[in-house]
């Protein structure tokens, strides 16, 4: 039997995906609605020779995961809004020190402690801008249990390939929802591991990039001694005050994502071929959009869906193309207008953009999307 059909929760699928990708270390501080990710990691990792550590807070949770990653293991931490805020500084650290790590944010109502058990999409811009300074960002956004499994694997692959933190932006609905999932055979899963140096320890320059702009990464404890810092550093890893070194480093960090966009970006389209109304939605809201589209198509209204799977980097080109074809883009979000800012920035020359926002802790219903469409038609 190659496929296992199971009823699985989104948070559980995240852990299963992480383990399939090779996660051997998890450190974190449990927080609703992400708690099951910590719980299940605690149960699963020791059985496969991995390690789980509950740290004293969210900051230590990501810090330990960063440290563990330096030894060569794949690491993850999961949290929700309040913890995501606390982790921001270390996300920047992982970005400049080029340390692969996966950070999961199961979004709940904010700001602050907000609505612990209710879904939201309020951290989408924080994912991009939460930590200071220019830094590369990859953030993925699943809308089903199966996709949570797949995108967790993809998050690890991208983190390893580009030596950087990768954010998995879930929401309470996707995290707590249970649905049918077919777990693929491990032979069907593509796994990417970080590239390691083949030169001697003496010749190793830890931050000298390869042709793809990513430096080779030696495991701590294997004789390759090097310096890791959050300061701007040269190819040896030691801090530098050189303006040239600073400029080269920050531009290279950004370019790792910029020049590899085609490899990183993904999105889903549904019914866009003949659409003259486009719904822009992601996460659990995309599921409301799909139901709304089915209902509207039955009435002959030509509605399609554009769903960014990588929210950062944003799938700009295709959305611009579609905006030239449609009369209006409807952007339902469980926040007061975040990703719609990207839509407006890119598309307002070509079409009309309508926001639909909800922050009461409830998912957006298909009927609300339909009502909005009828209002603007």
């Amino acid at each position: 039997m190659s496929k296992k059909v199971r009823l699985m929760q989104g948070n559980e699928a995240c852990v299963e995906g992480a383990i399939a990708a090779g996660m051997m270390f998890y450190s974190g501080y449990p927080i609703t609605p992400s708690t099951e990710i910590a719980e299940i990691s605690a149960e699963r990792l020791p059985r496969i020779g991995g390690k789980f550590i509950q740290m004293e807070d969210e900051i230590a949770g990501i810090a330990a995961a960063i440290g563990a990653s330096l030894t060569g293991v794949k690491t993850m931490t999961a949290t929700s809004g309040p913890g995501f805020s606390l982790k921001q500084e270390n996300i920047g650290y992982a970005a400049i020190a080029e340390i692969p790590i996966v950070i999961v944010d199961v979004q709940r109502g904010g700001p602050s402690t907000g609505q612990p058990t209710s879904p939201a999409q309020g951290d989408m811009m924080q994912a991009k801008w939460g930590t200071h300074g220019d830094h590369p960002v990859i953030a993925l956004c699943p809308s089903s249990v199966k996709e949570t499994f797949d995108l967790t694997i993809k998050s690890f692959n991208l983190a390893e390939k580009y030596r950087m933190p990768v954010l998995l932006m879930m929401d309470e609905v996707v995290g707590h929802m249970r649905e049918k999932i077919e777990i693929p055979d491990s032979s069907e899963i593509e796994i990417i591991n970080r590239k390691k140096p083949t030169c001697s320890a003496e010749e190793y320059l830890p931050f000298k990039p390869e042709a793809n702009l990513v430096p080779l990464m030696a495991d701590f404890g294997t004789g390759y001694r090097y310096h890791v810092t959050g300061l701007v550093h040269d190819e040896t890893g030691f801090p530098s005050n050189s303006t040239q070194v600073a400029d080269d480093l920050i531009r290279r960090l950004m370019d790792k994502v910029e020049v590899n966009k085609a490899d990183i970006i993904s999105w889903e389209e549904e019914n866009t071929e003949d659409a003259d109304i486009l719904i822009f939605a992601y996460g659990c809201v995309a599921r409301a959009a799909k139901t709304a589209i089915k209902m509207l198509r039955e009435k002959g209204i030509k509605v399609g869906l554009f769903r960014p799977i990588t929210v950062w980097p944003f799938p700009e080109e295709r959305l611009i193309e579609l905006s030239k074809q449609v009369k209006v883009i409807i952007a339902p979000e469980m926040n007061l207008g975040q990703m719609v800012l990207e839509v407006e920035r890119l598309c307002n020359k070509h079409t009309k953009i309508e926001r639909l926002n909800k922050v009461n802790g409830e998912i957006i219903y298909p009927e609300e999307i339909i009502a909005k469409i009828q209002e603007v038609l």
Binding site: L7, T32, E179, A288, K290
Partner: protein, 180 residues
């Protein structure tokens, strides 16, 4: 296309989240698609809680109940909080302790779920399993075999016989309410 939207409600701690998971699992064992979601307050016990299950032969997009085919309420508070969005053809399966306001036109089954678990079996912890037996006897949304398999998969080891008995009693009290 056959589609069922089920809402299980009661007080936190009555095991309705697990009941929803078991019902969704049974549907999958029957070869269907199922999605289960929940909502609860920050408190783990007391307060009204609900677990929702959508069952369909086709893919399920929107994961929450919109047109409820079946509402289970074990407490008055949860009935009052969650009795919205019921279809005209939707049925209400209520513990006998729950009273319904006048003018409700839905088919109502008043079933002694809590008393059966607490007094007949002497184990309030199987209230949710008695409820599942009653729901499936009345609605037939999943097969008996799938339900039993799903129950046995999810309950703690050593409680299998107790839970089978709870299921059988659920079927029985539902049958009695059907003939009323």
């Amino acid at each position: 296309m056959e589609k069922h939207e089920v809402r299980l409600s009661g007080s936190g701690g009555q095991g309705l989240l697990l009941a929803g998971i078991i019902l969704a699992e049974a549907a999958i064992i029957d070869g269907k698609n199922a999605v289960q979601t929940q909502s609860y307050g920050p408190e783990a016990r007391g307060g009204a809680s609900k677990s929702e299950v959508l069952i369909s032969d086709e893919a399920i997009d929107f994961p929450k109940v919109r047109d409820c085919d079946l509402l289970l309420s074990l407490t008055q508070k949860s009935y009052e909080q969650y009795n919205h969005g019921i279809k005209d053809t939707g049925v209400l399966i209520l513990d006998t302790s729950v009273t319904v306001e006048e003018g409700v036109t839905n088919k109502i089954y008043s079933v002694p779920i809590i008393d059966t678990a607490a007094k007949v079996l002497g184990k309030p912890m199987v209230t949710n399993i008695v409820a599942l037996g009653a729901i499936v006897e009345i609605s037939k949304i999943v097969s008996y075999d799938a339900l039993e398999a799903a129950v046995l998969k999810r309950v703690p080891k050593g409680t299998e016989e107790l839970n089978k008995k709870a299921l059988a009693l659920g079927y029985e009290i539902a049958k009695e309410s059907l003939t009323k």
